[in-house]
């Protein structure tokens, strides 16, 4: 993660001085954007850069659901299964995409392309069902539109 340090130094400009803890989540997000996950050596590098105890980083990594310590598929397909989405067909959608990809939620396809997850409310209830693929929200999804989307992603 050392090559990201100049970026991290930039972030400090709009933050109160001397509060290295505040950089923990922003740095972890950036490292994960860069590598796809957070490796042990990233933790070591971050501990050294910020001067925080290693256990703090390890606790944070296990607490926040968006952060991961292992790589996943190229496309992270996250289907919301909370109240409003379930009321508009999310459960059928999850079944469908699970069969379509051949994996259960929590698993990655054999070709490493897609990881399927079910997630909690994404704040998109009015345009349910919503599917988040990597950082993008795809709203008002149904089996057809999702098949189309996955087809497009397979080409990329």
């Amino acid at each position: 993660m050392k090559h990201l340090i100049p970026e991290f130094e930039e972030l400090k400009k709009r933050l109160p001085p001397g509060k290295n803890g505040t950089l923990v989540l922003p740095c972890l997000h950036r490292i994960q954007d860069d590598r796809g996950y957070i490796a042990d050596e990233d933790i070591t590098g971050l501990v050294e850069y910020l001067g925080v105890p290693r256990i703090q980083i390890e606790e944070v990594l296990s607490f926040y659901t968006m952060l991961r310590r292992k790589p996943i598929g190229r496309w992270h397909v996250q289907v919301c299964r909370n109240v409003s989405c379930s009321m508009r067909g999310a459960e059928r959608l999850i079944d469908h995409v699970s069969r379509h990809l051949g994996v259960k939620p929590g698993q990655t396809t054999a070709d490493g392309r897609f990881t399927l997850s079910t997630v909690e409310c994404l704040g998109s209830c009015g345009t349910a069902p919503v599917v988040m693929v990597n950082e993008r929200y795809h709203e008002l999804q149904d089996a057809q539109s999702l098949d189309k989307l996955l087809g497009e992603l397979t080409q990329q």
């Binding site: 105890p53 290693r54 256990i55 606790e59 607490f63």
Partner: protein
């Protein structure tokens, strides 16, 4: 000085106190798991709730006192509340009491008996988790028993400052885990978490399955590991539980060592070296007096030693920094005039041992250097080249430094090759076999009491000095 009312009676409080602190000071007991007098307040166990009249219940450990407030600690609502919290804590807590070392000194057991006593209302299977997880080679963790009070985590963060422990994951799958940089393994105070864990989640490997605590008694003592002289409790078998057969060595062995709270010296903590005192005290003992390796009776040995002292022109004594205040005084009065005395450092830091830190550990690994130096000076323990008699009291003497022609009187407790080379060898008692006092580096005097009878053939150093004394006159 606000006045508050607890259960209808008035009490004086300090303005920055909490209700829990005022209750403790006045002997009113409120149950708690996560609160600890030396650690930050987290208020996560929720069992210390008390009722403030007109305002309902809230945790007492974080409730600031207000003049005139009226608190109830035993109202019906408080009692119902304690029952409810115990229902939650025991929801997934395994009923391991029969195989758990903590039984008999377990806060959860005590509270369940005192405040709840009712079986669980859940009919679902308990959530399973990791058992026998090695946090280090000294501490075992059982996550099923853990109630996530976070005392251990706060200890490593606030007291030992190793930041060795943390809590990973979320919700009821949260787990206490060690940092992967090994900082808990290297934490010289790690074993204190076993004391402060309110349940049997954190257990000491060296005490694992060794004994039920109700077979043991404690004797107050002082740790000899360094010049801090922390107050400790030495645990050993109660008289009435002494074994008559099988391994009777159990009757005179140290089951474990725990801190004895002493706010003037060590608070409620000790370092790991103090836990391992059996390693020092249970080495093989020297059990017979000898003259140049030949077993002799004690009387013969004392007589021979007296002869040597009378006949010496330039006798030098290396005084033990593990001698108690009483033994040092006995040496001074019996033999101080006859010898040029130097204080010896019986023990040096071992490789890998923490030398000094800003918590408890001091570089001088001897418990009574302060008093010894007070009586015998601070000159280094170098033996003059013209010495013709060297009296070595205790360990740590480099025998190669003794001038070639000099005679040696050796007072020692443990088996060592030097014992056979000395002109006279006298086997002396160790700390756990007698009463005495040490003076620590801050001048604080602490006492220790005998745990065990003297090993066979062993004699107190004080008696030896009395026997040798008056030789010069």
């Amino acid at each position: 000085m606000p006045e508050i009312f607890i259960n209808g009676k008035p009490y004086q409080a300090e303005p920055d106190q909490t209700v829990l602190q005022v209750c403790r000071e006045n002997g009113i007991y409120i149950p708690y798991f996560c609160w600890h007098p030396q650690l930050s307040v987290v208020g996560n166990c929720r069992i210390c709730m008390v009722e403030e009249e007109g305002r309902g219940v809230d945790i007492g450990c974080n409730m600031p006192v207000k003049a005139g407030m009226r608190v109830l600690t035993e109202s019906d609502e408080v009692k119902e509340h304690r029952k409810a919290i115990l229902q939650f804590i025991t929801l997934n807590h395994p009923v391991d009491c029969g195989i758990c070392d903590k039984a008999g000194e377990c806060v959860l057991q005590d509270y369940h008996y005192e405040y709840n006593g009712a079986p669980s209302i859940s009919s679902d299977p308990k959530v399973r988790s990791t058992k026998f997880y090695d946090l280090s080679d000294r501490i075992v963790l059982d996550n099923e028993r853990c109630i996530l009070c976070s005392r251990c985590v706060r200890f490593t963060s606030e007291i030992s400052k190793s930041c060795g422990l943390g809590i990973e994951e979320r919700g009821d799958t949260s787990l206490v885990r060690p940092s992967t940089d090994g900082s808990f393994r290297n934490d010289a105070y790690s074993d204190n978490v076993v004391d402060i864990c309110p349940v049997g989640a954190l257990l000491s490997r060296s005490f694992f399955y060794k004994s039920r605590v109700w077979y043991l008694q404690t004797t107050p003592s002082v740790c000899p590991g360094c010049e801090r002289g922390c107050s400790i409790n030495v645990w050993h078998r109660k008289q009435e539980w002494h074994l008559q057969s099988l391994d009777t060595a159990e009757n005179t062995s140290i089951a474990r060592v725990t801190p004895l709270e002493n706010m003037a010296v060590n608070g409620p903590w000790i370092c790991n070296k103090g836990r391992d005192l059996a390693k020092i005290f249970e080495r093989k003992r020297a059990e017979g007096a000898m003259a140049k390796g030949k077993p002799v009776s004690l009387a013969e040995a004392i007589a021979a030693a007296r002869q040597l002292i009378v006949g010496a022109a330039r006798p030098v004594a290396l005084v033990s920094s593990w001698g108690s205040n009483e033994e040092l005084e006995a040496f001074r009065s019996a033999l101080g005039a006859s010898f040029t005395s130097r204080v010896k450092a019986d023990h040096q830091p071992e490789p890998g041992e923490v030398v000094e830190d800003d918590v408890l550990i001091r570089a001088d690994k001897n418990p009574n250097s302060a008093r010894a130096r007070e009586l015998f000076g601070t000159a280094p323990a170098v033996i003059p080249a013209d010495a013709d008699l060297v009296l070595v009291w205790g360990e740590g003497c480099d025998f190669s430094k003794i001038p070639a022609g000099a005679r040696i009187i050796l007072l020692g407790s443990y088996l060592a090759p030097e014992n056979g080379h000395a002109d006279v060898f006298l086997p002396i008692s160790i700390q756990t076999e007698r009463n005495g006092h040490y003076t620590n580096f801050q001048g604080v005097v602490s006492g220790f009491e005998a745990c065990f009878p003297k090993a066979p053939g062993v004699v107190d150093a004080e008696a030896v000095f009395a026997g040798l004394g008056g030789a010069a006159s």
